[in-house]
């Protein structure tokens, strides 16, 4: 009987490769929305505790990103958008990425639980688990509703931030969750419209791949029509001031106009690309306005 041992070359992975595994661009949005959740929550949180919570949330998001890249390395290699990631490029082995992700996940959740509070830690652990197991391992390769349901993971950070500051959950952070939840499908589907070939090659059943352009454009419009009033909801429910209400109405109207243009588009993807780019700005502006509102004295969650 012969024993074959696979020879593993010593790693050439640099620090930058590991940072890339943590999906820093996704992480920045996670940190920003969590920061808003943390700052608009009622009560006072000590800056050191708040910064620790944000650090744990950022590291937790990075862990989820690394575990996603570990599991998806095979399909990442097939798609133009993702073929330059550290594992397909051969800079990091899948095992290294998995170990890195698991270590960060354990550290971030335990640290958040010990130094901030248990509610936030349990939510962070659930978010990582949901993103890796429910979205990455299960839904992504099996249903066109992958990013709709999986979007819950991306929508949870403001709730974690809120829980870190207040120790609990109430209706206000749920509204923030719903805004990101309904923002995710139009955001990703506008991208997948002009990246459909990539997804088809990798066998990922994104909506344009399995239902076609026309249906995707219709659903982008439906979700945007649901999103726009949700964006205004914090003002309508009395959690935010009129300045926020005005800004949310304006950017919501722009989103609807862009979705109508995507729906009407027959050739090319100019409108889709435009809406994809604006959707990032839309979410940023909504959350930034909540912060401005909070700073200007109108306490989110406290009806004056």
């Amino acid at each position: 009987m012969s024993l074959t041992v696979a020879r593993v070359e010593p790693s050439i992975a640099g620090v930058g490769d590991y940072i890339e595994l943590m999906k820093p661009r996704v992480m920045s949005l996670v940190v920003f929305t969590a920061l808003v959740g943390l700052l608009v929550a009622p009560g006072h949180v000590h800056p050191i505790i708040g910064a620790t919570a944000l650090l744990c949330i950022a590291v937790g998001a990075g862990a989820a990103g690394a575990l996603n890249m570990w599991y998806d390395a095979d399909i990442d290699a097939l798609m133009t958008r993702t073929s330059g990631r550290p594992i397909p490029r051969g800079r990091v082995t899948p095992g290294e990425a998995a170990g890195f992700g698991m270590t960060l996940a354990a550290f971030s959740v335990v640290t958040l639980g010990l130094l901030v509070n248990l509610v936030a830690a349990v939510m962070l652990g659930f978010t990582i688990l949901f993103y890796v197991v429910i979205y990455t391992m299960w839904l992504k390769r099996s249903t066109p509703q992958n990013i709709v349901i999986g979007g819950a993971a991306g929508a949870l950070p403001p709730m974690i931030g809120w829980a870190a500051a207040s120790g609990g959950i109430s209706i206000e952070p749920v509204v923030l969750f719903l805004i990101i939840f309904f923002w995710t499908p139009p955001h990703f589907w506008t991208l997948s419209l002009y990246r459909a070939d990539d997804y088809a090659r990798a066998g990922v059943p994104m909506l344009p791949v399995v239902a076609g352009d026309r249906e995707t454009r219709r659903q982008i419009l439906i979700y945007t029509l649901l999103l726009a009033p949700l964006g205004v909801a914090p003002w309508l429910l009395g959690y935010a001031g009129p300045l926020y209400g005005l800004a949310a109405t304006a950017v919501g109207a722009i989103m609807i106009v862009l979705a109508l243009r995507v729906r009407a588009e027959r050739t090319g993807y100019a409108a889709s690309k435009q809406m994809f780019a604006f959707s990032i700005l839309y979410l940023f502006l909504l959350f930034a306005m909540l912060l401005v509102d909070r700073m200007s004295g109108m306490a989110f969650g406290h009806i004056a």
Partner: protein, 70 residues
């Protein structure tokens, strides 16, 4: 008269009398540089972790640090 070899002597001769030739993996310059960078990053991360624990301990305990049974 025949000589009987002692298995312990044989073992010593074969494996312990001479140091084994230098073998194993030789790292390239690039691999060495990458390993050093990773080691420094881990050291910085651990240092940052210690500082975070220290600061949060100060914040959590506050003035209670001095309030203890003598």
């Amino acid at each position: 008269m025949s000589t009987v070899s002692n298995p312990v002597d044989d073992f010593t001769k074969q494996f312990m009398s001479e140091p084994p030739p230098q073998s194993g993996v030789k790292l390239t310059e690039q691999q060495l540089r990458a390993r050093r960078a990773r080691s420094i990053a881990i050291a910085l991360a651990l240092g940052a972790f210690v500082i975070v624990i220290f600061l949060v301990t100060l914040v959590r305990l506050g003035g209670n640090v001095l309030t203890r049974p003598m």
